[in-house]
């Protein structure tokens, strides 16, 4: 029995009878940022969907020590597994403040919600400035901040971020990566799913490389960053 927050072993999942993922093993421990990287179609999003119990899966899936394989997505969310979905999925015609409050929809602790809001504005001062603007009027980077802020409002015990860097300028991605480190500093571990391998590995403690539905490499971020095969595959150079 490991003391990992999220503990996946021998997980197989897919759509219908076609398994997309085979024999996945992955853990996220307290205070960790873990990167799940891989190219388009490797099965990254499928893995997130399996973990959040949207699609069928078999094997072992434990969250906070509990077998969560039989749970519904709602029940898993209630236990603190919170997702920042791909493409941000904001409520475009609602204000930034309202979007953030939707993250706290299931919470009733007034003081805790206020504290989370203060914390979120602390991490993203620009959201405080734009709190009365509609989310749809924000820039792409600000929208991603709003999406992460909304997830933080749910008081996550583990944050899963799907393709955070998609469509964002490198300088914006760098800022967001800094924020992820700050979020981990506040005690929230992160599982990030990324196509941008080296952006993810820049802040991650450990990484997993997914290819054709299998984990082909699992190592510390340092090791993966200097892995020649990975550099060749994702940077297209031999340097």
């Amino acid at each position: 029995m490991s003391d990992a927050l999220l503990d996946i072993r021998g997980l197989t999942a897919g759509y219908g009878d076609v398994p997309v993922l085979t024999d996945i093993a992955l853990t996220v421990g307290a205070g960790e940022i873990v990167a799940l990287v891989g190219s388009n179609g490797a099965g990254k999003t499928t893995l997130l969907r399996a973990v959040s119990r949207i699609i069928k899966a078999s094997g072992s899936l434990r969250f906070l020590g509990e077998d969560v394989l039989p749970l519904t997505p709602e029940a898993l969310f209630a236990r603190g597994l919170v997702q920042v979905p791909e493409g941000r999925q904001l409520f475009g015609r609602m204000t930034v403040a309202e979007n953030l409050m939707m993250g706290a929809y299931r919470r009733r602790d007034r003081a805790g919600i206020d504290a989370s809001l203060a914390q979120t504005f602390d991490l993203f001062p620009v959201l405080a400035e734009r709190r009365a603007q509609t989310a749809g009027s924000l820039s792409g980077g600000e929208q991603q901040m709003c999406a992460i802020g909304r997830a933080l409002m749910a008081a996550p015990k583990l944050l899963m971020i799907d393709e955070m860097s998609l469509g964002l300028a490198p300088i914006v991605v760098d800022r967001l990566l800094d924020v992820l480190v700050a979020i981990r500093g506040q005690g929230v571990p992160i599982l990030m799913v990324e196509q941008d391998v080296f952006a993810a590995l820049a802040v991650a403690d450990r990484g997993y490389v997914l290819e054709h539905g299998r984990i082909v490499k699992a190592a510390t971020a340092e090791t993966l960053k200097s892995d020649p095969a990975l550099q060749k595959a994702y940077l297209g150079s031999d340097s």
């Binding site: 709602e74 979905p85 999925q89 409520f91 609602m94 309202e98 939707m102 299931r106």
Partner: protein, 284 residues
């Protein structure tokens, strides 16, 4: 002076029209269901308050009762039946609500007969004068309640946790679900609120006009037109849309004759769709 009188009548009636459209627009905007039984819901509210009136209850006292009963009715229909097909093609919900409309209309005919009924409290026929203009008290009350309910709905949607969840569900179902909103529950509550507003509209309609089992036949399309003119997301704009139609009908019946009122209100709809399609169809 006649024109001023006609305008006053049109505005007052238009407020009630707006209230009729409010429930339909809410349900349409959030659930993407065009409720063809909306007029029948209005009819049910009217009958309920009529019978309570004959039992001695003032319609303004029965109004909240009608709203509560219709809320429950709407909630149960959505929760038990409509939720099964809410995510399927629009045609399915159209068929379902059309069928519901037919059933309710002919049940009403069987149970209540086809007689014209009027809710006729002492103030319904009263009026007072402002200069040369006569203000009918019944219509004034209907107008005031319609505006008040539109304001209440606006506050509910904009200022409460429930309202936020309703708007979030309308704008991005997947994200709402991701953060713990239960769409089945939100849909049922929304449909219930839509029905409750129909119940209120039926009450007021019974005070200013006559109730028959068939009033839905004209009130459903009227609500539909106003919902499109007013847009689906702002209750106050919908009441404004109702007033536009009310005034247009009043002026039409003065200058062209009452037969042409529907021609003008649907003509107005076509005109608005042609001239400003983007603005009027900015749907959820």
């Amino acid at each position: 002076m006649l024109l001023v009188q006609i305008l006053v009548n049109g505005v007052l009636l238009g407020g009630l029209y707006g209230l009729m459209a409010l429930g339909m627009a809410l349900v349409w905007g959030v659930l993407n269901i065009v409720n063809l039984a909306h007029g029948a819901f209005i009819m049910l509210g009217g009958y309920l308050v009529f019978f309570l009136f004959t039992a001695g209850l003032d319609p303004l006292v029965s109004l909240p009762i009608a709203m509560a009963v219709l809320f429950l009715f709407g909630y149960v229909i959505q929760r038990s039946l409509l939720n099964l097909i809410v995510r399927s093609a629009l045609l399915n919900t159209l068929l379902f609500t059309f069928g519901l409309d037919v059933v309710l209309t002919y049940l009403a005919q069987l149970l209540f007969s086809a007689d014209f009924r009027t809710i006729n409290p002492s103030y319904a026929g009263a009026n007072f004068s402002v200069g040369a203009v006569t203000v009918p008290v019944g219509r004034l009350i209907a107008f005031a309640i319609a505006v008040a309910l539109a304001l209440l709905l606006y506050l509910l949607l904009e200022r409460t946790r429930l309202g936020r969840a309703i708007r979030a569900t309308a704008q991005n179902l997947d994200a709402a679900r991701l953060y713990g909103v239960n769409p089945a529950q939100i849909y049922a509550i929304t449909f219930g609120i839509g029905a409750a507003l129909a119940g209120a509209a039926g009450t007021l309609y019974g005070i200013v006009a006559q109730i028959t089992p068939y009033i839905g036949v004209t009130l459903t399309p009227k609500s539909f037109v106003i919902a499109i003119i007013g847009g689906l997301d702002n209750p106050l704009r919908i009441v404004a849309g109702g007033i536009v139609i009310g005034v247009a009908e009043a002026v039409t019946s003065l200058y062209l004759g009452p037969t042409y009122t529907d021609v003008v209100s649907f003509g107005l709809l076509v005109l608005i769709l042609v001239l400003r399609p983007a603005q009027s169809l900015k749907i959820a």
